[in-house]
C-alpha cells in the first residue's frame, strides 16, 4: 500500500470538504439546522458548528440571505428571531389550517395570575418573591413555583439582604414562549400621566 498516496488522498478529501463550504452551502446547512431544531438556534451555536471554517460575518450574511429568500418567495415559512436565536416557523395566517389538520387548538395558555407575576419579573428582574407579593398584594409563591416548573423563570442567585431571598429572572424559554427576540422587545405600557 502506498501510504503517501493514501495520506495525499485524505488531505485532498479534507481540502475538498473545506472548499465546499461556500456561501450557498453555508446557507443550506443553516436552513437544515433551523428546520430540524426544536429550540431557537443562536449565531454562537452555528459558529461553533462550523468551527473556524466560516466567519461570523459569513454566518450573518447567510442568515440574512435565508430570511430574504423566504420573504421574496412568498413562502408559508419564515425565519424569526425568538428567544435569543433564530427559528424556522410557519406564518401566522396559516395557523387555522394547521390547527384544523391536527384537529386541536392550542388550549394551553398562561393564567392571568401567571401573566401578572411574569410581567413583574420581566420588567423588574432580578426580583424577589416578596417584591412580587408587594406589588400584587397576595401570596405569589405558588404561581412562581409553577413558572419555575415550566422553565419560564429561573433563580439567578440570592439577594444580599436579611434572609438571603432568592432572586428571580426570566429565561430564554420565556422569550420563546412570547415570541420575543430579547428583553428589549418586551411590550411597554403606554405612557400615562396620573
Amino acid at each position: 500500500m502506498d501510504v503517501r498516496r493514501v495520506l495525499t488522498e485524505i488531505g485532498d478529501e479534507e481540502q475538498r470538504a473545506e472548499s465546499s463550504l461556500d456561501a450557498d452551502t453555508v446557507r443550506m446547512v443553516i436552513e437544515a439546522i433551523l428546520f430540524a431544531a426544536t429550540d431557537p438556534v443562536s449565531e454562537q451555536q452555528i459558529f461553533g458548528l462550523f468551527g473556524r471554517k466560516v466567519s461570523e460575518d459569513e454566518i450573518k450574511n447567510a442568515l440574512s440571505s435565508l430570511w430574504e429568500g423566504y420573504e421574496k418567495a412568498s413562502s408559508s415559512l419564515q425565519i424569526v428571531k425568538i428567544g435569543g436565536g433564530f427559528k424556522l416557523t410557519t406564518r401566522a395566517q396559516y395557523a387555522p389550517w394547521i390547527e384544523k389538520f391536527f384537529t386541536r387548538r392550542r388550549e394551553v395558555s398562561l393564567t392571568k395570575a401567571s401573566l401578572e407575576v411574569l410581567s413583574i419579573i420581566a420588567y423588574q428582574q432580578p426580583v424577589t418573591i416578596s417584591q412580587i407579593d408587594y406589588v400584587r398584594g397576595v401570596d405569589s409563591a405558588g404561581v412562581v413555583r409553577g413558572l419555575l416548573a415550566h422553565g419560564l423563570v429561573t433563580v439567578k442567585g440570592r439577594k444580599k439582604a436579611p434572609g438571603r431571598p432568592l432572586l428571580l429572572a426570566t429565561t430564554d424559554k420565556f422569550l420563546d414562549h412570547f415570541g420575543l427576540s430579547d428583553l428589549d422587545s418586551l411590550p411597554r405600557p403606554d405612557d400615562r400621566i396620573y
Partner: protein, 304 residues
C-alpha cells in the same frame, strides 16, 4: 382604556354615608372587579368599595355587610345556574374582598380585641403609598395584557416538532376540564356508600402536602409526563385507600392544577377526565413550600 379621575364630589354622589369632604382624588381605572354592588347610595365595583372603606371614606358601621354577602352569593349562584363559565380569578378575588369587609366590620364592632395585627399595619398605610401600590399593580396588569397579546401571536407560529406537544391522535376533540367538571367527575368516582356516608368534622387523616407528592409520584410512575399519554382520573384515584384519602386526592389535584403542574382534559362528549403532569415538578421547591419530603412522602420541617 379611559383613565377616569374621580373627585370627592363624585364620591358624594356615590354614597350618602361619606365621612369627610377633604380633597381626595382616586383613579377608578385601577378598580376592575367584575362584581358590582349596590348599597345605600353606592353603586360600583366591589374592589373600589373596599378601597374607600379602608380609606375611611365610607362609614362601614352604617352599611349592611350581610346584604353585600347575599348579593355576591346570588351573583355567583345565578351565573352557575345559567351555565355561564365562571371566572374563578374574579370570583376568588370577590370572596377575598368580602372577607376583608367582614373582618373590618368585626373590628369596628369589637374594638380592642385585635392587637399587633398585620391588617392594622395595612390600615395605617398612608394613602399616598397605597395609591402608589395600586398604580404599580395597575401597570403590572397592563403589561400582563401586553404579554397575553404577545402569547396569542406566538401561538399562531408553528415549527417542526411542535405538533407533538398537542397532537394526540387518539384523543380528538379534547377540551380543558373546568373545576366544575373535576368536581362532578370526583362525585362520579365515589361509591354509593361513600356518597351517602354521614359527614362529620374530624382530625385531618391525610395531609394535602403529602398527597400532592404522592399524586406526582403516581403520575410520574404511569409515565404521564412530557409527550407520554395522559392518565385517567379514575386510575389515579384508584390508589386512594378510603373516602378520606379520595377527598385529599381531590384537594391535592386542585392544588396541582392551580400551580399549573397538572392539566386536566376531557373529550367534549365524555365525563372521563384525563390528567397529565406538565414539565418537571420542582420537588425541592415543593419541599420548602409544603414541608413535605418528595422522596419519603413524609411531612418534615422545612429547613433554611
Amino acid at each position: 382604556m379611559k383613565d377616569e379621575r374621580l373627585g370627592i364630589a363624585d364620591c358624594g354622589r356615590m354614597n350618602g354615608a361619606l365621612m369627610n369632604d377633604s380633597s381626595f382624588i382616586i383613579h377608578t381605572s385601577a378598580f376592575r372587579s367584575e362584581f358590582r354592588i349596590q348599597v345605600q347610595n353606592y353603586s360600583g365595583p366591589l374592589d373600589l368599595f373596599v378601597y374607600l372603606v379602608k380609606q375611611e371614606q365610607l362609614d362601614l358601621l352604617s352599611i349592611s355587610v350581610l346584604g353585600i354577602v347575599q348579593n355576591l352569593a346570588k351573583q355567583l349562584y345565578n351565573g352557575f345556574l345559567a351555565g355561564q363559565a365562571c371566572d374563578l380569578d374574579a370570583a376568588g378575588e370577590a370572596m377575598l374582598l368580602t372577607a376583608n369587609l367582614l373582618y373590618l366590620k368585626s373590628r369596628l364592632l369589637l374594638p380592642g380585641l385585635f392587637e399587633d395585627d398585620e391588617l392594622e399595619e395595612e390600615l395605617r398605610e398612608p394613602s399616598a403609598v397605597l395609591v402608589q401600590r395600586i398604580l404599580q399593580y395597575e401597570e403590572a396588569r397592563a403589561m400582563a395584557d401586553g404579554l397575553a397579546e404577545k402569547e396569542r401571536s406566538r401561538r399562531a407560529l408553528w415549527f417542526s416538532g411542535d405538533s407533538s406537544q398537542y397532537a394526540e391522535n387518539e384523543e380528538d376533540d379534547i377540551v380543558g376540564a373546568s373545576v366544575v367538571d373535576l368536581a362532578l367527575s370526583f362525585v362520579g368516582l365515589l361509591t354509593r356508600d361513600e356518597a351517602e356516608q354521614v359527614q362529620f368534622v374530624s382530625r385531618e387523616k391525610y395531609s394535602i402536602a403529602e398527597t400532592v407528592v404522592k399524586m406526582i409520584g403516581i403520575l410520574k410512575a404511569t409515565g404521564s409526563s412530557g409527550r407520554c399519554p395522559s392518565v385517567s382520573m379514575r386510575e389515579v384515584f384508584s390508589h386512594a385507600r378510603d373516602i378520606e384519602e379520595k377527598l385529599a386526592f381531590f384537594l391535592a389535584l386542585l392544588e396541582l392544577v392551580k400551580f399549573s403542574l397538572v392539566t386536566a382534559v376531557q373529550r367534549r362528549d365524555s365525563f372521563n377526565i384525563r390528567l397529565k403532569l406538565l414539565g418537571d415538578a420542582d420537588l425541592e421547591m415543593l419541599r420548602l413550600e409544603l414541608g413535605a419530603n418528595p422522596e419519603s412522602g413524609r411531612l418534615e420541617l422545612a429547613s433554611g
